[in-house]
């Protein structure tokens, strides 16, 4: 029986010829990423160990991205703990450089790797042909001390993509549609694998957006094959080379296969308060908004900013609406600056912020109040996610968000 990409990556990490779904294996991890959401707790647990030790510090990447700049004395204490430990132990450390998954894609991840991240959207690395999965601080600590962990090999659900996305329809609309189709639990414990002729019509930014959101369908990981687009991205970003390039075998077993024609995808939103609460944008036209957010690990890349800027150019943000534009990394920010995009956003009346998780995280920037409505390219819209427990979050693409910011209500991305 052939193997899926997920099986091949785990086999490599386990040092085995082959593995199959359902088996449990001990693996060596290629990277262990942690951010300021939980590292302070990991350090406390580490210090309580009888024999605290780090297996391989070169595999650890610590990134302060959630509450940046720091929002409170309590946060400052937690971040100081993380910063000091990283400095004292020679751990690769970023603060203010950008959102963790964007940094990992820009600077670290290569195809074939098995990566634990103490953040649910670690599945994003599938865009680079790597098996990334989210874990909590205990699993992280175990990996830090031993260099490895145990994994159960997941079944794979395959998505065969054909055709091309239409104008102003984005990868965000695609992945939201897929999550709406299979449900918030539809891929629980599974790998979601994306293949097909349509892949060549998806940029690396599109691919990251797709893989990043798979955890919202319950997926353990998301995976894609390595092609010229992947290799070009790696070359542009530090001349990185793959560790291994995997494709699923012709006789690999998939639990289910969905065939999706990209040209049938339309602009959609996820309505409050669930990521799978899908509706075409046209069905929610007219919903008044108080705030709009363009950013996050899902849609804070240069392509998203270009799209948003092309729509808002020459228009103004609606009266009494706050529009926050937050590039996902310093690299994106500087590129946007060079291209004149930030000027376009500011001319329109948007607030351009430093690279961080920002509004998506609901704790540090652009927090919304009781009764307020946010339209966002962030990852989740659970009740209270962006601020007050009685507030409302709609998730949509960069195009839908930019158009809605102008209108002051949710509108189709074709409006301007």
């Amino acid at each position: 029986m052939g193997m899926t990409i997920a099986e091949k990556i785990i086999a490599r990490a386990a040092g085995l010829e082959s593995v199959h779904a359902g088996e449990i294996h001990t693996v060596t991890l290629d990277y262990l990423m942690s951010n300021d959401g939980t590292t302070h707790l990991t350090i406390d647990m580490y210090n309580k160990l009888r024999n605290p030790r780090i297996a391989d510090k070169s595999k650890l990447v610590w990134i302060v991205d959630h509450n940046v700049p720091c929002d409170s004395p309590k946060t400052a204490a937690s971040q100081k703990k993380m910063r000091d430990f990283a400095r004292d132990n020679g751990i690769t450390f970023y603060e203010g450089a950008g959102v963790c998954h964007q940094i990992m894609c820009e600077k670290h991840v290569v195809p074939g790797q098995l990566i634990f991240g103490a953040d649910s959207h670690t599945c994003a690395y599938g865009a680079l042909g790597a098996f990334g999965t989210g874990v909590g601080c205990t699993d992280y600590l175990y990996g830090m001390v031993t260099g490895g962990s145990w994994v159960m090999v997941p079944e794979t659900i395959r998505f065969n993509l054909t055709g091309k996305l239409r104008d102003r329809v984005t990868a965000r609309d695609l992945i939201l549609t897929i999550i709406g189709l299979i449900g918030a639990n539809g891929a629980n414990y599974h790998a979601m694998e994306f293949v097909g002729d349509g892949m060549k019509n998806l940029t690396m930014s599109d691919r990251i957006s797709i893989c990043n959101l798979c955890v919202e369908a319950g997926a353990k990981t998301a995976l894609m094959e390595v092609d010229d687009i992947t290799l070009a991205y790696l070359e542009e970003h530090g001349g990185r080379k793959p560790a291994a390039c995997f494709k699923s075998d012709d006789d690999a077993v998939f639990e289910k296969t969905y065939n999706i024609d990209l040209s049938t995808i339309v602009p959609v939103v996820a309505k409050p308060h669930f990521v799978d609460n899908l509706a075409p944008v046209d069905d929610v036209k007219g919903v008044k908004i108080n705030e709009a957010f363009l950013g996050s690990c899902n849609n804070g890349r240069i392509e998203d900013l270009r799209l948003g800027a092309s729509i808002i150019k020459g228009h103004k943000v609606a009266d009494k609406v706050r529009f926050l534009v937050v590039p996902a990394s310093q690299e994106v920010y500087r590129q946007a600056l060079r291209e004149g995009l930030l000027d376009i956003f500011m001319e329109a009346g948007a607030m351009v912020m430093n690279p961080n998780c920002s509004v998506c995280w609901g704790s540090c920037q652009g927090v919304i109040g009781a009764g307020e409505v946010l339209i966002s390219t962030g990852t989740r819209n659970f009740k209270g996610r962006a601020g007050d427990k009685n507030s409302f979050v709609y998730l949509g693409s960069a195009a839908t968000v930019a158009a809605s910011a102008i209108a002051g209500e949710i509108v189709s991305p074709y409006t301007y």
């Binding site: 959401g37 939980t38 309590k74 649910s120 601080c137 205990t138 009740k383």
Partner: protein
């Protein structure tokens, strides 16, 4: 025996413990805010030995380990649901908080009911009714029996 606190389906980690509390220095400081947006009285009313009973996909959303950790810190004996989101489930077992797959219990109970759990036999009892629980895979049961994953690190 312990009291049931019943929640619905798709209870996500932002509901269990909201983002603004996660960077507090310790779980002890966070636990007072557990389930705040769903039940403002939960943290003050729950007693050690009580249970959280919920519908499908409990713990979906973020990988924040603070979610099972605050429940454990409040003395919750176990979380029972027909299904759990992956990361929450793994985190729960890792810290020694039993996350037990149990069908039918959610429909049968309401907040305030008293139930008991026999982990060895894998049965929940409510009055004269019993509900079988899915046994954990051997390796996960081992982690739980040890009180969590970290204790195995100290054995090495």
């Amino acid at each position: 025996m312990g009291k049931v606190f019943r929640f619905n389906k798709d209870v996500d980690t932002d509901q269990i413990i909201a983002s603004q509390y996660l960077l507090y220095p310790t779980v002890e400081e966070m636990k007072a805010h557990t389930f705040e947006s769903l039940d403002a009285n939960f943290a003050s009313e729950v007693k050690p030995g009580d249970f959280v009973v919920a519908d499908t996909n409990f713990g979906c959303g973020s990988s924040r380990e603070q979610a099972p950790a605050v429940l454990k810190a409040l003395g919750v004996r176990a979380v029972l649901a027909p299904s759990f989101a992956r990361i929450f489930y793994r985190n729960s077992i890792n810290i020694g908080l039993p996350a037990i797959v149990c069908d039918g219990l959610y429909d049968a109970v309401k907040t305030g009911d008293e139930i008991s759990l026999d982990m060895e036999k894998g049965i929940v009892t409510f009055g004269d009714k019993t509900f079988p629980c899915t046994k954990l895979p051997v390796h996960l049961q081992k982690i739980l029996d040890q009180g969590g994953l970290i204790s195995s690190l100290d054995e090495m």
